[in-house]
């Protein structure tokens, strides 16, 4: 399956857009001591913004970044959202409330507890009525979502948006699923013949391999000092590895990303020029 990557958005400690990630390559800066800025996307209508937690704000912010970067129509692009654990802050709230004597929940927090919450806020903020989904595959979520979004691009023959995010887990969730860093990313893909104004234009070819038949296929790791930690500290980290190779042509032109317990994506990259 082939497509073009036309836009990217990123949010993490020390990273507030894809350009920050590009700048980091070649520098010896480390993200680990950088501050985490809370995003306040102006794109979410104020009534909705008050109701959105960190995960939703971050997801909506990077979705807008990637669409702006790719110069695509925000109101029309279909989307796939993914996360390994979704909003553990809300799960924590619901779990504590329901374990107590007074079980009345906040209606806003309850409706934000649906796993497609970020997709819902995105659609409102972009006035987008195209298809939008949340798909999860635990620690294989990035690969599964890439497979899903590229199959969507091939099906509708139009650009499609992929958004991924996970929050750092706090006690008691860290014993179940440890996530050290909070991050979000977004990517816009388009069919090969799509004409774009974007300065990013990378042709990708994606193959879904059986791990059993391809023992050499190991999930790729980030190379740059500044990005290594983040790429390993969040289930969305393989998107950082992918973006690092997109941004730095000196790195291998191929990325392996796990897409399920038994499958691995092999993604070949080729710069095609604008």
């Amino acid at each position: 399956m082939k497509a073009r990557l036309l836009g990217a958005g990123v949010w993490a400690r020390g990273l507030t857009c894809y350009a920050d990630l590009v700048d980091l390559i070649g520098s010896d800066k480390s993200l680990q001591n950088a501050d985490f800025t809370t995003p306040a996307p102006a794109s979410i209508p104020s009534r909705e913004r008050r109701r959105a937690g960190l995960m939703i704000s971050m997801a909506v912010e990077v979705a807008h970044q990637a669409c702006d970067h790719a110069a695509v129509m925000k109101a029309e692009i279909p989307s796939v959202f993914t996360s390994a654990m979704c909003d553990t802050q809300i799960t924590d709230y619901m779990g504590r409330k329901l374990a107590g004597a007074e079980k009345l929940l906040s209606p806003t927090r309850f409706h934000n507890s649906v796993h497609n919450a970020a997709s819902g806020y995105w659609s409102i903020s972009a006035e987008n009525r195209a298809s939008s989904s949340y798909i999860g595959a635990s620690s294989h979520s990035v690969g599964a979502a890439l497979l899903d979004v590229i199959s969507l691009v091939n099906d509708v023959h139009e650009p499609a948006l992929l958004v991924g995010y996970d929050l750092a887990t706090e006690p008691p969730f860290d014993d179940v699923f440890a996530i050290q860093e909070t991050m979000a990313f977004a990517l816009v893909f388009a069919p090969l013949d799509f004409r774009s104004e974007s300065d990013l234009n990378v042709m990708i070819e994606l193959n879904c391999l059986q791990i059993r038949d391809n023992p050499q296929a190991q999930a790729s790791q980030a190379e740059h000092t500044g990005l290594k930690h983040l790429a390993q500290a969040n289930p969305m980290g393989s998107a950082i590895t992918l973006l690092e190779r997109v941004a730095d042509e000196r790195l291998p032109r191929c990325v392996y990303i796990s897409s399920s317990a038994h499958t691995m994506l092999k993604i070949d990259l080729a710069l095609t020029g604008a």
Partner: protein, 391 residues
């Protein structure tokens, strides 16, 4: 935004376990005798007065510690009905495990285990080790469990888009099959009753104190239920029905209130019909989302009234099963396919008087159904409609 190809995907096998029956035979018997599945709530730790569509899971053996959850027990019970698991095994033998994918839909996933874990926090506020279940605490729990349980090694993911979840599984599976990523896909949905959904919908004042009565003028809200159901999709035309089209949309309006003019609902139905190359007048039966809330039935009713002619039959089946949320898509897909296969069009259980501006069936009727559409609309303004056609 529209698929460029007409669907060549078929539903070869299906099964359903809900309050309407464990397996298709029980479901058909209860349909025939007009025995609905809603009973007064006796849910532990809940004081919300309501009716629930509960499934008796007492026959299911305890699962391995890492997989323990009510949702996985539901899945376990459902997979063993109607020879579904063995039909999948046959497909694996033919195509190879790596050529069979899994797309499950859920909203609750394993949240009942998180609820229980919070009731047993230790002195330091941490979960007891019995709840360290990463494969259950993730939204992907149902897809992961089904793949492992059936030994499937193809692509595997879980869709979670509230009450549209297990309708949207058909959209993902159709793409995978048409792009030849796999030869078969096990699609399905599983959602279990738990305090999160009972108190969650109660907080929105949407839970009826009586069995839900979709489209009644004085309806009082939803009745919750639980279910697990599956369908085996392939490109082979020797199955039950053809998956004729799937339509998806967003309201882009509000997280938990439908667009007042039903813009998203209308788009989702129209996109499904366009994908199937049909008009609504060519559809014999529509299984409505029909939750029994004032807002949903009002909005969905106006959209359908504007699109329908007198010929198309409509019904809402949540009075039989309860609103099974993330499983509603597969529950109502199975009931819709069942109408095509058996000719039994289910009535709108519990509803005596309809205010719908279209042909809403209150009681079961026997009809030849060649084409049928089912609607599933969820929080986040997420909508999905699926069209099935007789082979």
């Amino acid at each position: 935004m529209r698929s460029l190809t007409l669907s060549v995907v078929y539903v070869n096998r299906m099964t359903l376990t809900s309050a309407l029956g464990t397996g298709l035979s029980a479901m058909r018997e209860n349909l025939a005798s007009s025995t609905g599945g809603l009973r007064p709530s006796r849910w532990p730790d809940s004081d919300v007065p309501c009716f629930l569509g509960e499934v008796d899971l007492s026959s299911v053996a305890e699962l391995p510690a890492a997989r323990r959850s009510r949702n996985n027990r539901l899945i376990e019970l459902a997979l063993e009905q109607d020879g579904f698991a063995s039909a999948v095994a046959d497909e694996v033998a033919r195509a190879g495990a790596h050529r069979v994918g899994v797309v499950m839909g859920t909203s609750t996933s394993g949240i009942d285990r998180a609820e229980e874990a919070f009731r047993h926090l230790d002195a330091d506020g941490r979960f007891e080790p019995q709840f360290w279940q990463p494969q259950v605490f993730t939204p992907h729990a149902p897809g992961d469990y089904v793949a492992e349980r059936l030994g499937l090694q193809g692509p595997c993911l879980t869709v979670s888009a509230a009450c549209a979840s297990s309708a949207k599984v058909f959209a993902v599976a159709r793409r995978w099959l048409e792009q030849d990523l796999v030869d078969a896909v096990v699609v399905g949905g599983a959602d279990n009753l738990c305090l999160s959904v009972i108190y969650g919908f109660h907080s929105l004042q949407l839970v009826a104190p009586e069995p839900c009565r979709p489209f009644s003028p004085d309806r009082q809200g939803i009745s919750l239920g639980e279910a697990a159901g599956f369908a085996l999709l392939t490109r082979k035309s020797d199955g039950l029905v053809r998956l004729a089209g799937v339509g998806e949309s967003c309201d882009a309006y509000h997280m938990s209130s439908a667009h007042p003019d039903g813009l998203g609902a209308k788009l989702s139905m129209q996109r499904a019909l366009d994908a199937a190359d049909l008009t609504l007048a060519q559809v014999d039966y529509v299984n409505l989302h029909g939750t029994g809330t004032r807002a949903n039935d009002d909005v969905e009713g106006r959209v359908c009234a504007a699109m329908a002619d007198d010929r198309t039959l409509f019904s809402a089946t949540k009075g039989w099963t309860g609103h099974t949320l993330g499983a509603a898509g597969i529950v109502e897909s199975v009931l819709t396919i069942n109408a095509i296969v058996t000719g039994l069009v289910p009535g709108t259980m519990n509803t005596q008087v309809s205010e719908a501006g279209f042909n809403l069936l209150l009681n079961n009727e026997q009809h030849q159904v060649r084409r049928a559409l089912t609607n599933s609309f969820g929080f986040g303004g997420n909508n999905c409609s699926v069209v099935f056609e007789a082979i």
